[in-house]
């Protein structure tokens, strides 16, 4: 009694896929390195960008795919259909590509109400129209009741690369500035606010939106873009870590410069979440030379989807790490998460 003894559990053997392998954090990165990259090895994949850029006779194409799983299917400001179109369109835009065509694959759970499906499909139609893409091919499968959270959607997209230079983490240079296209975390909080058991009233709607208009404007203004990344699952912190790793360069950001709506910040305080890891579906980060910063900000702020654009940090050194200058002026590492952020009481 009252004697301190050592009692540690044996480590869990990671011999099965865990939820965190799909969470976009460290385990996802390990899964890609361990399983997918060696098996599919090719130069286009090795870039590890949001989409592959492919040279074909007469054209440079961008090609990407994404699967969408969200609970609940409908949330303030959108539904899984908006996500499925915007997510893939945005991955193309992040390659500097004008989105042209999409495919849509549906995995429906037996018993899904038709009115939900119809609302989701109508949202896909509207989002595709807004983004200027056509959904040109598709597939439907139905799984047994209990085997698929209502519905899953996969979309793949093809676009033509418009950017004059390669946009990729490898193009990032020391001295580049980092900017974000608007306030962060609204999508993540909008979805959480309607989860059973957590419900709270929040004046927050998902930021889901096609980002191509903002990217097109930057390119039209002649801004030299080195890298773009949409800040989806895992949020800003995860995206910056991926870019730091892929580029081998260090990134330092100012916590006080990162924009969040007050209610997003408050929801994070209440649930013990870090807003830098919250998902966004209509926000991106851009890396560009400092001489282009003012022009880039002015251009972005003229677009509805990126009117909240601000600079948040810069690239320095070869640490391949992300550092955060905190609101109180100290410096700390901004790391990858081990999995999805869970609300905490501690």
């Amino acid at each position: 009694m009252n004697e301190f003894a050592l009692q540690c559990p044996a480590p869990a053997a990671p011999d099965r896929v865990q939820l965190a392998h799909g969470g976009g954090g460290r385990l996802t990165a390990q899964l890609i390195e361990r399983v997918f990259l060696p098996a599919f090895a090719n130069p286009a994949l090795r870039v590890l960008h949001d989409g592959a850029v492919l040279e074909t006779p007469g054209a440079r194409l961008a090609f990407t795919t994404d699967s969408f799983v969200v609970s609940p299917l409908e949330f303030p400001g959108g539904n899984i259909g908006h996500l499925a179109v915007c997510g893939t369109v945005n991955d193309l835009a992040m390659c500097g590509a004008r989105p042209l065509w999409l495919s849509a694959g549906f995995i429906l759970e037996e018993g899904l109400p038709f009115d939900v499906l119809e609302r989701v499909v109508a949202s896909m139609r509207d989002a595709a129209r807004e983004a200027g893409v056509a959904i040109v091919t598709g597939d439907t499968k139905v799984v047994d009741h209990g085997k698929g959270d209502g519905m899953f959607i996969n979309t793949a997209g093809i676009g033509t690369v418009v950017a004059p230079t390669a946009i990729s983490p490898r193009a990032v240079q020391e001295g580049d500035v980092v900017l974000v296209s608007g306030d962060l975390g609204c999508h993540g909080i909008a979805v959480l606010s309607v989860r059973e058991g957590l419900e709270f009233e929040a004046p927050v709607e998902s930021d889901v939106a096609p980002l191509w208009p903002a990217v097109e404007a930057l390119l039209g203004a002649g801004v030299e873009i080195h890298c773009l990344r949409d800040l989806t699952r895992g949020g800003l912190a995860t995206a910056l870590n991926e870019i730091a790793t892929a580029s081998g360069l260090g990134i330092t950001i100012e916590e006080s410069a990162v924009p969040h709506a007050p209610s997003v910040r408050a929801a994070c305080e209440l649930l013990g979440l870090d807003p830098l890891y919250l998902a966004n579906e209509g926000r991106f980060a851009a890396f560009l030379p400092e001489c282009d910063l003012e022009r880039a900000l002015a251009t972005l702020r003229a677009c509805a989807v990126s009117q909240g654009a601000v600079a948040i940090g810069r690239v320095s050194g070869a640490s391949a790490r992300v550092d955060l200058r905190t609101v109180i002026g100290s410096l700390r590492v901004l790391d990858l998460l081990s999995g999805e952020q869970l609300p905490r009481i501690c």
């Binding site: 009233e201 929040a202 910040r265 408050a266 209440l270 009481i345």
Partner: protein, 78 residues
């Protein structure tokens, strides 16, 4: 441990069960229904410290400002 967050009590909710007094608390725009059973003294407009859906104490505004005020006097900053 023990994440607790200050929010402003904006409304005391009518409840047939007086031991489970409830109120609506505002956290910079986020509204959450909070149990006030442990803070019967809490009044609308006051800030309460909320943990797992319960108000644990009413924030003393005078005490709250003390540290900040002392620092304000010590340094030349606003």
């Amino acid at each position: 441990m023990c994440l607790a967050v200050p929010g402003r009590l904006v409304e005391i909710l009518p409840d047939e069960n007086p031991t489970l007094r409830r109120g609506s608390v505002d956290f910079a725009g986020i509204r959450k229904e909070i149990c006030l059973a442990f803070t019967p003294e809490a009044e609308v407009g006051q800030y309460v410290l909320v943990h797992v859906g319960f108000a644990l104490s009413v924030i003393g505004e005078d005490e709250a400002n003390r540290v900040v005020r002392l620092l304000n006097q010590a340094g030349d900053w606003e």
